[in-house]
């Protein structure tokens, strides 16, 4: 039983997420694993739609670091979609 629990936790930990910051706090648009091509393809489609609507995608790389991406990285744990910022 314990082994099954640990196995489930590890599967969840490996699950990558595409989230969008919005008026609900954030919305998970897609989840994928490197081993599951279908889930990744669905995530890529969702990712493209959001970029086409004017959002930017950012991959966090530890505290203090972030990288903007134009393609959904297969190995990222978390990809965050943000709106543009402006001065004033």
């Amino acid at each position: 039983m314990r082994t099954a629990c640990i196995s489930a936790e590890r599967t969840i930990a490996r699950m990558a997420r595409l989230i969008r910051m919005d008026d609900t706090g954030h919305t998970t648009l897609a989840e994928w694993t490197a081993a599951d091509e279908l889930s990744f393809d669905a995530a890529v489609t969702a990712f493209r739609e959001q970029l086409d609507s004017g959002l930017y995608a950012v991959v966090t790389e530890g505290e203090g670091h972030a990288r903007q991406v134009d393609e959904l990285p297969l190995d990222a744990e978390l990809v965050i979609l943000r709106r543009p910022i402006a001065g004033g």
Partner: protein, 204 residues
């Protein structure tokens, strides 16, 4: 911080990219402007008093101007960290969870106390709010107006937007933002609401 270029800089293509040198230059211009506003009033007050001691009330008014103008500028700077009305509890909690994942324990604790996030960068130490950020460089602080244009976003999401942009391209972030004030940190600190002041104290 990353070395990528923030895409929003394309919207302000006429602005030179902010770097340490341009920040120092802008700081000097702000100081000179403050001096130019203050010295004439002060000199006029002293001269008037020397020529005619009965003009002291006028001199006091001039000195009040010399004091008030820099204070108004500092208030303008402090206003970049003004908090906005919060969203509903659920979205605020969800946004807070995400912001908490982006920062370390100390920054989380500071945000819980002050509503502001401290971020150390190459240009200095940033204090990020919902619609602006302060950049502390030594005893000087630069106050930047910058925001995400969606009023429905929870406050923690607004900070997360700015934080992610800042982490992507610090110089680009400062280029996109509008400089509202540059001057002494103590001057801005005392114009902040008391609840926000620990964020400036945490810089050192």
């Amino acid at each position: 911080m990353s070395s990528e270029v923030l895409p929003e800089t394309a919207a302000v293509y006429w602005r030179p990219r902010v770097d340490e040198r341009s920040l120092a230059h802008r700081g000097r211009v702000w100081t000179l402007t403050t001096v130019a506003h203050t010295i004439p009033f002060t000199v006029a007050a002293v001269l008037l008093f020397a020529l005619e001691p009965l003009s002291a009330p006028v001199g006091l008014i001039l000195l009040a101007h010399a004091w008030a103008i820099p204070e108004l500028y500092a208030k303008r700077g402090a206003n970049v960290l003004r908090r906005r009305p919060p969203a509903a509890d659920g979205p605020e909690r969800a946004a807070l969870g995400l912001l908490g994942d982006l920062v370390g324990h100390e920054a989380r604790a500071l945000h819980a106390r002050t509503g502001l996030v401290l971020e150390r960068g190459a240009l200095g130490v940033w204090v990020v709010g919902e619609a602006g950020a302060l950049l502390a460089r030594g005893r000087r602080v630069d106050c930047w107006c910058v925001h995400v244009d969606d009023r429905r976003l929870p406050s923690a999401d607004r900070i997360a937007h700015l934080l992610l942009a800042l982490r992507t391209d610090e110089q680009g972030f400062a280029t996109v933002a509008n400089l509202a004030f540059s001057g002494a940190r103590w001057r801005v600190r005392r114009r902040l609401p008391p609840i926000q002041r620990p964020a400036l104290d945490a810089i050192d």
